[in-house]
Amino acid sequence: MTRSLRLVWVYPDLLSTYGDRGNLLVLERRARLRDIAVEPVFVNSDQPVPRDGDIYLLGGGEDLPQVLAARRLRADGGLAAAADRGAVVFAVCAGYQLLGHEFGGADGEPTAGLGILDIRSGRGERRAVGEIVADVDPALGVPALTGFENHQGVTRRGPDAVPLAQVTLGTGNGDGTEGAYAGRVLGTYLHGPALVRNPGLADLLLGWVAGPIRPLPAERDELALTLRRERLAAAAP
């Protein structure tokens, strides 16, 4: 790499509800352990979104901040432009929903999203709160997702988005699938620090921008893998 990898955290002032910083910290750590230089970039909602980032991260948010974030991102145009030229976008929960064509606003009313992922979300009957486990699309070569979901969204995909995973425990999109991706734009209902328990997914994103990456030395990966095992075992029926 001739320059640092730019990790852009989009709107931490609006889209950071519960531990979303974790995704940035995990990507940073896993890149540095492979001698890949990284530069975290924090972009608040009163600043323009840079168009030359490598990985864009969007977190979760309450209803009103989500509506505001969608409005400002549409007006700014930077994120859509970056996604257009092939940058990686990783979005969780409210961030995932607003990548789509529409989502449910503060009173459930349809609200325009960014339209960079072919999904539409609305509000479901009841809130999905708890551990979630899902088998990832084999095409991605990533082990099962483990995480926590806390949302009332129901998400349908159009023909241009593929399910990220199939739910084995929990709710996800509401139709047995979980998350969605298209090219290098990827979203999930696993909320907050989703990459912490899913280092394979973190490495997939890093590999998309940094090319083939080597595995971490076992002792550097041990704790995260222990945590994965613990949580998967605790979630097993």
């Binding site: 531990g19 910083r21 974790g22 910290l25 909602s45 309450e62 009103l64 901040p65």
Partner: protein
């Protein structure tokens, strides 16, 4: 008290007996069970028990238990008996139980869970409502905090006589209280800003300069304050500066103390007298207590959410003082440990750090990401045995803290 209808008197005495049985059986401190049984017999019990008493309700995400204790101490110079749910049992049953056990009390200082404020404010016709702060907390079961603030606004609008004592430094609190006819604004500080970047009224960016804040677009701004915390001192309404000199450690407790002084003012207790009471408080429901364990002096701190951890880390004695962190994720803690990633642990570098609790692996992964070295332990005694002497600071979240108190034999 004798004016209570027969049914309520029966509910109170049956509840009181259950409390005593619960304590004798060693099942708890008896602060809830009596109220639960009493409320089952008479759903209007809380309103009946609160009748003819001057009630102070204390709520907010952090500092409820400590502030309740401090307000009680600040009102001590009145010489009246005061009812209080001093052990943090802050739902209706805990409040009813506290009132039922103190029939002669003319004043009640009640800690109230954030969600229950609308019903409890209506039931008790409280004289004072204390609003401390709002920040993210146990998101798997608590309401989103903006919605909470909106419900408080509606509850306050329906209780126009209540004197609100509110923290002007927390924009969400200011929004919740700003339409109330009677507000004592207190500059109690806000260490945690990550839930208040945007205007609660219009959603635009808040502009901050030192402690001041105002919306960049609408007219919403920090209200002028009557009481202020300034470093180690309190500034009273006359502008006089006095050192607080509390026995309790930390900025958060100085903040709680200034709020307590503002409540005391409502009751006509002067700042000099009220301060004397505040300075006598040394521990609150086991928090800040120092316990000797096999040659190690352990100080216990409780932190339940990111804002609370930020304040607890502030309280720690400087490095290399060893620290043990303990985290659980039982229902009262919140089942979700994501919040660990909202806390900046880099400040623990350069200390010996022990990691315990049922979710110690989650915590260990978090510390690893912050380049903090740590040792995993099975319980507080393992940390004590590795240290053998000196001091140990322990920070735990709710049930982890209770487990450690139990392990230390309730001496704590």
């Amino acid at each position: 008290m004798n004016k209570l209808p027969l049914r309520a008197r029966l509910a109170t005495s049956v509840g009181g007996a259950a409390s005593r049985v619960s304590r004798l059986a060693g099942r708890g401190d008896g602060s809830v069970i009596g109220g639960v049984i009493g409320l089952r017999l008479e759903p209007g019990l809380l309103a009946m028990l609160a009748q003819d008493r001057q009630v102070v309700l204390v709520t907010g995400t952090n500092g409820k238990t400590t502030t309740t204790r401090l307000v009680t101490a600040a009102l001590a110079p009145l010489g009246e008996q005061i009812a209080s749910n001093a052990f943090g049992a802050n739902m209706e049953a805990g409040m009813a139980s506290a009132l039922g056990q103190a029939p002669g009390a003319t004043i009640a200082v009640l800690e109230c869970d954030e969600k229950y404020i609308p019903s409890v404010l209506a039931a008790t016709h409280a004289r004072v409502l204390v609003l401390l702060n709002l920040s993210r907390d146990q998101m798997d079961r608590a309401a989103e905090i903006w919605l909470l603030a909106r419900r408080w606004r509606e509850a306050i609008a329906a209780a126009p006589d209540v004197q609100v004592v509110a923290n002007a430094d927390d924009p969400l609190i200011a929004w919740a209280a700003c339409e109330a006819p009677h507000v004592t604004w207190v500059a109690a500080g806000q260490r945690w800003h990550d839930d208040s970047w945007c205007c609660p009224r219009c959603g635009s960016h808040l502009r901050r300069a030192d402690d001041d804040w105002k919306c960049g677009e609408c007219s919403f701004s920090r209200p002028p304050v009557r009481w202020a915390l300034s470093g180690e001192d309190v500034i009273d309404p006359a502008g006089r500066v006095r050192p607080l000199d509390l026995a309790l450690p930390g900025r958060a407790n100085r903040s709680n103390a200034v709020v307590a002084l503002a409540v005391a003012e409502v009751f006509g207790v002067g700042v000099v007298h009220a301060l004397r009471g505040l300075r006598d408080v040394t521990s609150v429901a086991g928090r800040y207590t120092t316990v000797e364990r096999r040659g190690v002096a352990i100080r216990l701190l409780l932190a339940k959410n990111p804002a609370g951890w930020l304040e607890a880390l502030d309280v720690l004695r400087p490095p290399p003082e060893p620290v043990m962190l303990a985290v659980n994720a039982q229902v009262p803690d919140g089942r979700d440990t994501s919040w660990l990633w909202d806390v900046d642990y880099r400040r623990l570098r350069g200390r010996q750090v022990f990691v315990g609790g049922e979710r110690r692996t989650d915590l260990a992964v978090r510390l690893e990401a912050d380049d903090v070295t740590f040792e995993i332990v099975d319980g507080v005694d393992e940390a004590v045995d590795r240290l053998r002497h000196g001091r140990l600071e322990v920070i735990g979240n709710y049930t982890a803290f209770q487990q450690i108190r139990t392990a230390l034999g309730r001496a704590a």
